[in-house]
Symmetry: C2
Subunit: 461 residues, 2 copies
């Protein structure tokens, strides 16, 4: 029996008690789902406390908890102990190129284009491969992890960035994002927890969400993630992995120095975490740096996408991994993709073996350096461990904004940029930033025009 009458009590959601059929918790969940999906409950609505609902419906508290859990897993609501349960605002923060981006009337400084236009080597490589007589060898089912010759090229390219592993521990995948999918599926389970930087690559965040893997943001300082914070979190939570991009963290542009890498590696080893090291920006890092994976020999997965460095459209990445993951990753590749097209791997192999790859990254570093020089005419670097030739910059925002509001107003001014909330696992009101892509404008002039608009906009607002 309900203790009180709720007739004139203002509850934000009043499910019809008569509609409840066993199993109760599922019944409640589907009523809630229905009301959210049909717009009867607006985004951000605070739902009644679980106890109150339980009382109103004359069922047990934990029955309501379970019902809410179902909706939370589906992403319909989110709950905060002590504060309450809320309807999720339907925002997708992941960053991808839309199809309709062709004839835009703004300057692109949001997504990070990889300076593909300065690069005619790839088309050249395709032509030279097409002329070869072993073409048909590239067109069958064999070598799901990559042909030995391609894995040799991958090894060589990794060595270029101070990562040295035998080809038995290397596989070819269909790009960086595909590698993340593979690793999260093959080495983790739903419900597992992975440590990430406070500000993290949004596409990794969204992927983890889809796979029900929980990300735990760890505070950092100017040098990146703080080892003592990581240690503290590991001590009280059971984490399974950690995702890092130490060459040039996206979005903060921080390059982690060798000392910090070693400290972080120590904590990783101490708690037996699986390290997922994303080294897509390795070609922008100082030459002598070793990957963190180097110091975590038992539990690393190292991902070297070539999307930013060599070619974005070919969809190839190289991954290297510790011995104990060989079987699971092999099986994961079978199950996720079967294999990556050997033709695509051959193209990248050609670039690496002819030395074209080296020329491409040399040129990209030069152009990016030039773009950063332009940036410094308008804004300054914040601290010395920011990567000086990063493709993007991270600028503190001094006024408080809503994500959508800020990005929208910027667009009406003629520039596309991203607000820091896209990069947060939990959208809190920490200090705000914007990420500015320097490589997406057509040329330095367009970049300068964009930065000029931005500077004026920030001064006015």
């Amino acid at each position: 029996m309900p203790v009180n009458s709720f007739e004139d009590y203002p509850m934000s959601w009043k499910p019809d008690k008569k509609q409840l059929v066993p199993p109760l918790y599922r019944s409640v969940a589907s009523l809630l789902e229905y009301d959210i999906l049909n717009g009867f409950l607006a985004p951000n609505t605070k739902l009644p406390p679980q106890r109150e609902l339980a009382d109103y419906l004359d069922i047990n508290l934990s029955t309501v908890t379970r019902a809410f859990k179902i909706c939370e897993v589906k992403g319909l609501i989110y709950a905060v102990t002590g504060r309450g349960t809320f309807v999720t605002p339907n925002i997708k923060n992941a960053i991808f190129m839309a199809d309709s981006d062709e004839n835009k009337n703004y300057i692109e400084m949001g997504i990070i284009k990889p300076l593909d236009s300065i690069n005619s080597f790839v088309a050249q490589a395709i032509k030279s491969i097409a002329a070869k007589d072993y073409l048909e060898n590239l067109l069958d089912y064999r070598h799901p992890l990559g042909m030995p010759y391609h894995r040799m090229a991958a090894k060589k390219w990794m060595q270029r960035f101070n990562m040295d592993v035998p080809i038995e521990n290397i596989a070819i995948t269909s790009g960086g994002q595909n590698s993340f999918s593979l690793i999260l599926m093959a080495l983790f389970h739903p419900g597992d927890k992975i440590a990430v930087d406070m500000y993290t690559y949004p596409n990794f965040i969204e992927l983890a969400k889809i796979l029900n893997i929980q990300l735990i943001p760890i505070e950092g300082d100017e040098l990146g993630m703080k080892p003592e914070r990581l240690d503290a979190v590991c001590r009280t939570n059971s984490l399974q992995g950690i995702y890092l991009s130490p060459s040039c963290n996206n979005p903060t542009a921080v390059t982690m120095n060798m000392n910090r890498r070693k400290e972080i590696a120590e904590v990783i080893n101490k708690y037996g975490l699986i390290l997922i090291e994303d080294d897509v920006y390795s070609f922008l890092a100082p030459n002598g740096y070793f990957p963190i994976s180097h110091f975590v020999p038992e539990k690393f997965v190292y991902i070297l996408s070539i999307a930013k460095s060599l070619s974005s459209g070919i969809r190839v990445a190289f991954i290297a991994y510790a011995n104990q993951f060989v079987e699971k990753i092999t099986y994961g590749i079978f199950n996720l993709n079967v294999k990556t097209s050997a033709l695509n791997a051959e193209i990248i192999t050609e670039l690496i073996n002819t030395g074209a790859a080296e020329q491409i990254i040399k040129k990209k570093r030069e152009v990016s350096q030039e773009r950063n020089r332009v940036y410094q005419k308008y804004f300054q670097f914040e601290h010395p461990s920011e990567n000086p030739i990063s493709f993007f910059r991270w600028l503190p925002l001094h006024k408080e904004w809503q994500l959508n509001q800020f990005e929208h107003v910027a667009l009406t001014r003629g520039i596309h940029v991203y607000h820091s909330h896209r990069f947060l696992v939990k959208k809190d009101e920490t200090p705000q930033f914007i990420r500015i892509s320097l490589t997406s404008p057509k040329d330095s002039d367009e970049l300068e025009k964009g930065l000029c608009i931005l500077k004026r906009f920030l001064l006015e607002s």
Copy 2:
């Protein structure tokens, strides 16, 4: 307090009660996991009944249930109501090409090779594309779902098989398996249930296992899955989807006739299931057949891989889907792969638009027909709805075998074939079969040699 003393009671697993720390259920689960992973509990060991363990450990029955559930989700054990709980034998049934398959001393009739060797058109297409001046347009980040021109080709190719949808409902993916991953990730949740044929494509089974999606096998007859059985299962269970391959079911080679397709579609619509239609063998089906998707316009996903029909190594598939899935699938592609290489899509587009694709499948149908003629010299078709030009055949086995035992003995005789247990969701002792690939032997002579060995082997054993 335990009711009995278990000192001299023969329990197959006796965890140390003193090692239990709260939370109890997790503690029990990790003790069990430890003992399985370290070999103290052999595969197929029957664990003590949950009640007995609970009594022995002096904890509640459902605490043990929960502990076992954790291990079951991890795939360490499996439970059957009424029979007991058992340690999972560590068998991977998925079928993939191993790297070491080059110089084998047996005739390959296990995996299904797609007659790639009769096909030099693909290399030709690559050469012609390499010569084109728009090559660089294929090499960037744009058009994550596929360039409009490529989706037009996909539409055209689908129309060839009586599937007609606008290009807004079509996307290019990185092959059939990649499409399954995409669909299971984007449209389903862990714990969801999907109906499948009693005998199902093993790589779909393994993928579902990784993603914690439960497959429910439905009985069939000579025409494929029985509509009344599907209806009965849907009435008592809440299913979310169904996976079918009606053009030529793998492994049974059954082609579903139009009448059965409509009956199945009716049940699918009645219960609002999501249809996953795998039409990789459409090019082997009679010309006038409509896909089941045609009759499920609100809830279909139709997958047209070109791995068997046009080229296995290029890693491209076309998918078409109902309007309501457009957003989720688009977002899923972003998160899983970002995009599929436009170069690869261009190659297939070229094949389709030049008419080479049509020639390839014509030739493959002829060769497959010839191979089936050879097969009929040794064995007969079982019933009229088996696809007469299937790349593989499904042969009843009259003696009872263990999967590994049978395949191993066949190998020592010089032939590689697959036992029906690989295709079962639950390995029961139903009537047994073997799947024989007709297209993997080099030529008809080698096939004949293989069939000869097989026939002798089956007669002797």
